[in-house]
């Protein structure tokens, strides 16, 4: 018998409305959700809990907070997939181009999703990354 094991997703984002909306959706989709409002909070959760996947906002309080957290997660366990969520393009008009494999390896994220996030796109990425990982 296979145990019904909920996968745990860590959300790190300083926008509490985004956190809550994502939590409601992911819980509805059958995940267990841990939410952190900043890098330090997320790192504390990372110490205590096992996570299967992380969704990280690129720009939290510190400009590079998301990168730093991403790096921390990968250092703990390189097999944990990280989805980097970024509002860089819509907020600043800057293109944040990480289309190539090399650029992706540089940001240490497995997927990049633009804000505003479409939930279907996000779940597709989650399924793909958790599927790869299984």
């Amino acid at each position: 018998m296979e145990a019904i094991d909920k996968k745990t997703i860590l959300i790190a984002d300083d926008d509490q409305d985004f956190r809550l909306q994502l939590r409601i959706q992911l819980e509805g989709a059958g995940f267990e959700v841990l939410a952190a409002g900043g890098r330090l909070e997320a790192e504390a959760l990372l110490q205590e809990r096992h996570i299967d996947l992380a969704i990280v906002d690129l720009m939290m309080e510190e400009v590079d907070g998301g990168f730093a957290l991403c790096h921390r997660i990968k250092r703990k366990d390189p097999s944990i997939p990280v989805i980097l969520v970024t509002a860089v393009t819509s907020e600043t008009g800057l293109e944040f181009d990480a289309a190539t494999k090399e650029e992706r390896s540089w940001v240490k994220a497995d997927a990049l999703v633009d804000k505003p996030v479409r939930f279907e796109q996000l779940t597709r990425e989650i399924d793909r990354l958790l599927g790869e990982n299984a």
């Binding site: 409305d17 809550l20 959706q25 409002g37 900043g38």
Partner: protein, 376 residues
Amino acid sequence: MMDPLHILVVDDEAGMRQGMVRALRDFHVRLPDVEGETGFVTQVAETGEQALEMIERQTPDILLLDHKLPGISGLDVLDHITQREDKMVTVMVTAYASLDTAVTAIKRGAYDFLAKPFTPEELRAVVTKAGGSLILARHARQLAEDKKRIRFQFISVLAHELKSPLSAIEGYLQLLRDPSVRDDDATCSHVVERCVVRSVGMRKMIRDLLDLTALESGQKVREVQDLDLETIARAAVENVAAEAAERGIDIEIDIATLVPLRGDPWEIQTLLNNLVSNAVKYNRDGGRVALHVSRDDGKVTVQVADTGIGMTAEETARLFSDFARIKNEKTRDILGSGLGLSTVRKVCALYGGDVTVESEPGVGSTFTAVLNVPPV
């Protein structure tokens, strides 16, 4: 040192061209608002057609344009170039002291005229004047562009600030379409509560924006009158009384008896409202706010001290600009427009005063607004 200014001499007489080039060779001049001396690089054209071709390739800064040319006339050249975007300064050179031609040329966009025959000194004087005008025009254009850029920047930040609460509310409404979300009472009421918080925040931001534009447009009629500062201060406190009570924040008012102030009631009320509401908003639960109003030496001082999260020196440095919001762990969940203190500073300026802040992280901030009051 500025790059040399480019001059294009247009004249069909070879002697004239050479004379002008010679007079301007090694000529340096001090121009207003330009560091050091400015030199000139001179090129020549024999006809209007050739001049237009050369202008097309590289726009000169100053055009010395003979009126009487073999093909198209100097005035024709002038008509062509006034349609161009890039601004050069044209000096019309008239074959004889013909006032009519000079007036026509100036009407059609020439900056000045020079009547033949002229001495090298006269030529240099007119070139110096033209150079000065060119620099002034460039500065004015730069200022206008800066203003436009700042305006666009403001609008773009504003649009983003208004979009974000709306997106949050939209996201929640989308969630509420799902019956399983609606049926979960705890989740549902949490969602509705956040929608209310974000719409209130958005409404307040629009109010702050209206305050700021009312101040800046200068269209609002000021009603300067004797003000009762105590009533205004109490109204400002009343405004935030509910939030303060809920969070156990104590507000004390200390107003020296009878502080007279002549001013516009709306402006002063806005100033106090913003300072007092910030003192509550950025306070800790169970904290204190002290509002102190005093007068001496023709100055009214409004001081609002809180026991809140405080700020570092770097954070206070950029606090009074439009949309300046201090982003850190402690302010993460506090909503605000970032326009309040900018408005406070603008009100103070209307009274020949200013607002300053002293702050210590984790201890609190004290804002001091000083208003100059003309002697009674």
